[in-house]
Symmetry: C2
Subunit: 347 residues, 2 copies
DNA sequence: GATATCCTTTGCAGCGCTGCAAACAGGATG
DNA sequence: CATCCTGTTTGCAGCGCTGCAAAGGATATC
């Protein structure tokens, strides 16, 4: 397939009349090369159309120049939006991004956190776990630089980047309560083992009620295994079916909110008049849906940039830096699903 | 960072009392290894916790075991859904997937189609071009196995996988005409250079009118640079603002449709009573939006599987196979945005 | 019993690059 | 003029694996 032999460092060296090591120095932009030499080498490089062989470089360096990003589901807008930012940030640093989806499979997650089945494919991992257990984290390869997104507080051996879930959730629910809603449901709670983030959001839900001196309706806290549209739609149907429906719903993701709204509308209810809905994540869908979705907007750009920065720092340092808890800011964005629609635009 | 030396083939060989080449044979599952030897080696592997160093393997093999998938935008649901399927298909074959987004940048596309800036990072590319010119395709590295998705008919040196855009579009528009709509708009047309797919869809739009013996309203064909929500929303606003609005819209993507619907609803119009809307791609959003979106559903699973299969075949063959035109099937999925909403469910 | 045949195992070279340390050159310094 | 220093260039070994071809063993064939 490859035509003949490819141009190597040695070929360039020969043409330029220098050693191959010098060519390497030029190609990698190392200091201490005289302008004269640099020019000579550069000309030879251009003339031969030399391009470094990354495979050989990687082997010699002992690094792959790649990082892995592991997410549960690639087609979840929140993840794909975040991924986009991560790829950009990594590229700037000369790193390639290998993407893996676990489908929420715990065994798969466990494997990936240990370099997958082979060494050195990637130099570090940015991990967004779904069902990663404390134990899996504990007996992972301690030499693999790791940054975790979302849930799971750091144990000191890795960095954790996310927003303050409790506070963000509290803001969301306070918003609903401040609108005068008194039967607020929560969709997305999960048992501790499978969803630390969910737990934090439920905590925020409770705190909001406490702060406003209002009772939590325990029966309105609905557990759901995933944060997707289907779960949101089902959970909402469940809430409506059993009578005495809520007048507001705090959804643990925008997808859940979209699913819930879908059910409400198709049952002939009005959002937000009958039921106000608030989501979480600020995905693009929510900005164009009918109604548009009020949401908690985490600063994805900052999360991505911080995660990449910390990971590369980890990769580059001899002695592992301390595991940090890093908080990105978030905002409450009020849209139609809680505030109602403005009168049809005149223009 | 790495603790001491890692376990190598040689270490295993020593422990098992065989040559390192034999260990390699076992690890790679080559034939012609006696059961006895295999067991001995396997035990040594397990005992030492040996894991192959992919970097070294890649260099020795001259292949990276990775393929690149290049899409314009990662956060476009159509692409992320497709990507998900591609990753799965590649993984089954032992290939890793490197993801790249071009942001529709032509120079970036041009570079990636030529192995990026370095050799051997990936063994082949699945490319979903946005603005890739005929010339860029022509002077690409002919030795880099390539499969193109979507637009761009094959010139014989690569495979092209997609659905029949003309036919699919015709079906979509025939559906609108058959509902009795007579002023059908099209949103998403593009000049030939930048959007071959768009051109094909416009062709289908015309053919549908021809087949039904109806005139095309040329002024209702709206060009838009991208297939996203914002463009759909704007284009729809444009159509409404200038008076004599259409009674149906054929959108070149579901995102455009969602954007268009957003504008319609916010202007107080009813979908589909006042304006019927049909999309393209069958992304998940359209199944939960209000109203749900009638769409053309390409068989993404088949597109992904076919693309990967053809690419690996190309990578594996000494003499390049002929460039094929491969067609995946599509279906028209009728939902609320053209058929209207069923009465609110009793249950 | 000698030869051919097949299966299994081995040794070696080398993939193309970089780390390391030594060599070298050209000034500056004493 | 010898010595030291700094900046630049070089040589070599080796990253850990696989391709190749040959060697070794066991069995079949005449």
């Amino acid at each position: 397939m490859r035509r003949g032999r490819e141009v190597t460092l040695r070929d360039v060296a020969e043409l330029a009349g220098v050693s191959s090591r010098t060519v390497s120095n030029v190609v990698n932009g190392y200091a201490n090369v005289t302008e004269h030499t640099r020019r000579r080498v550069q000309e030879a490089v251009d003339q031969l159309g030399y391009r470094p062989n990354v495979l050989a470089r990687n082997l010699a360096r002992g690094r792959s120049g790649q990082i892995a990003v592991v997410v549960p589901y690639l087609d979840t807008p929140y993840f794909s939006e975040l991924l986009q930012d991560i790829i950009r940030a990594a590229r700037v640093q000369g790193y390639n991004v290998l993407i893996d989806q676990t489908d929420g499979d715990r065994e798969h997650e466990r494997m990936l956190i240990n370099h997958g089945s082979s060494r050195l494919l990637f130099d570090g991992v940015i991990f967004s776990p779904l069902g990663l257990s404390q134990e899996a984290l504990a007996d992972r390869d301690p030499d693999l630089p790791l940054v975790i997104l979302g849930e799971r507080v750091s144990d000191g051996t890795f960095d954790h980047v996310g927003i303050d879930d409790v506070e963000a959730s509290r803001h969301a629910v306070e918003h609903l309560l401040d609108l005068g809603r008194r039967r607020v449901a929560a969709i997305g709670d999960q048992p501790y083992e499978t969803g630390e983030a969910a737990q934090l959001r439920t905590r925020g839900f409770r705190e909001a009620h406490e702060r406003r001196g209002l009772p939590v309706h325990e029966d309105l806290i609905i557990r759901r295994p995933r944060f997707n549209r289907a779960d949101g739609a089902e959970a909402m149907a469940h809430l409506l079916d059993r009578g005495d429906p809520p007048d507001a719903v705090f959804c643990y993701s925008d997808l859940v909110a979209l699913g819930a709204i879908h059910t409400l509308i198709s049952r002939g209810m009005r959002v937000p008049e009958d039921v106000a809905v608030i989501g979480y994540d600020d995905i693009e869908d929510g900005r164009y849906s009918n109604p548009t979705v009020t949401t908690i907007s985490p600063d994805k750009g900052m999360i991505a940039a911080t995660a990449v920065e910390r990971l590369l720092l980890r990769i580059g340092s001899k002695t592992p830096p301390p595991g940090l808890e890093l908080r990105a800011p978030h905002r409450l964005i009020v849209r139609e699903s809680t505030a109602g629609r403005a009168a049809p635009a005149a223009h």
